[in-house]
Amino acid sequence: MLEVRQLSIVQDGQRLWDSVSFQVRPGERQGISAPSGFGKTTLGRVLAQWQSATSGSVSVGGKPLSKKGYCPVQLVPQHPEQSFNPYRTTGESLRDAWSPDATWLVRLAVNPQWLARRPDELSGGELARIALLRALDPRTRYLIADEVTAQLDPHIQAQVWQVLLEEVRRRELGLIVFSHNKALLEKVCSSIWHPGK
């Protein structure tokens, strides 16, 4: 279980989150919907240990998350173009985490040729799919999807969510979804949290 206790985040003098506590069980699909600029992305970064919280704790299975080794909580960032090394091919960046087989590429509609290119040679939607694939490492137990399908066309968006939901069911992946699309959250999530309301 992913447990967040009394988490506070202060950034640039702004109190974004004030002692929030919530839990996500394996296999649960938690949607979080808040207005633009509320601090959703920052919360995602803290949960995935990309940055530290001001106070409070994040633990998985009763143990606090360590900054060393592979983090079982993975974030799929909102701007995938900023999360790839611009000097390496996307395939090299992907294989730092794990080496998915061809079936995986087909499931997420990733063309193998894209993995031989650098991030600036790919479109936003193509990079978004590779970033998602990278985060679906078998070691991942909780996945934070931060607006992952905002840059995808409706067909591929539906296909990507279908794969994610299959993974949630198959390996009891816990899913946290940040999105502005209410219809999407209602279709995908088992519960939706509206902080700030």
């Binding site: 193509e126 968006q157 539906a158 699309n181």
Partner: protein, 263 residues
Amino acid sequence: MLKFDRFAIDVAHYHWLGHKTWHPLLSNISLEVRPGELVALVGSSGEGKSLLLQSTLGLLPESMRCRGDIVLDGQVLGDAAKVDQRGKALCYVPQGVSALNPLIKVGPQLMRAARLGGVQLGLEDVAEQLQRYNLQPGLVQEFPRTLSGGMAKRVLACSAALTHARYILADEITAWLDDEHACQLLTHLKGFCQQGRGILWVTHDLALAARFADRIAVLHQGELHETLSAQALRENGGSPWLRSLWAALPEQQFFARQEPEYA
């Protein structure tokens, strides 16, 4: 009128000994954006929508070339004119928020954008403009790293609107924005259209396009598949391919093509 006349984009494939061959990415695109019109451009990911906008301003990478004409108010734009018109007659709102310079505060950055477009503005004017996009006026003193995705998108939109550009090329302007802000931004853009500006808007959000756009142009398999009015889209018009895109929206059937078993 901004007009693409049998416009095409080719991608270079490099071979041994410096040989290269050109492969078409987009071909035979004939599209018009009239003054006062909001035209939505939709299509699959990786179809070349962003490249179409970038080529209008001569921003294509070296491994690509374009053919055909771009006609601005009756004049064919050459390579030098494309560069010259940036920020003046044509303005581009890029898709990625990394277009903001991380080392310049938001206010001076917007003033700089306006100045390059030939408009002199003070810090107070910029702060006032930001309020129209529901952003705090204090934001002018912040660096872009403090902005969230949706806020950065609105700052980019604001920077385009500050200039007197007659045509705005907006790439995914509502991605990462919540419904309320997206509608507000589009209403604002519609206001620009009423002032006689033309907007070409790349989007994946068909529902918003059907609500706000005047016309919808659909790219499919490298060609302009069809152009239809927003009303036709709302009234279940359009080709089977467009209908299947529409049906795949979360607001519609979403998983209808293949229902997954999840509880």
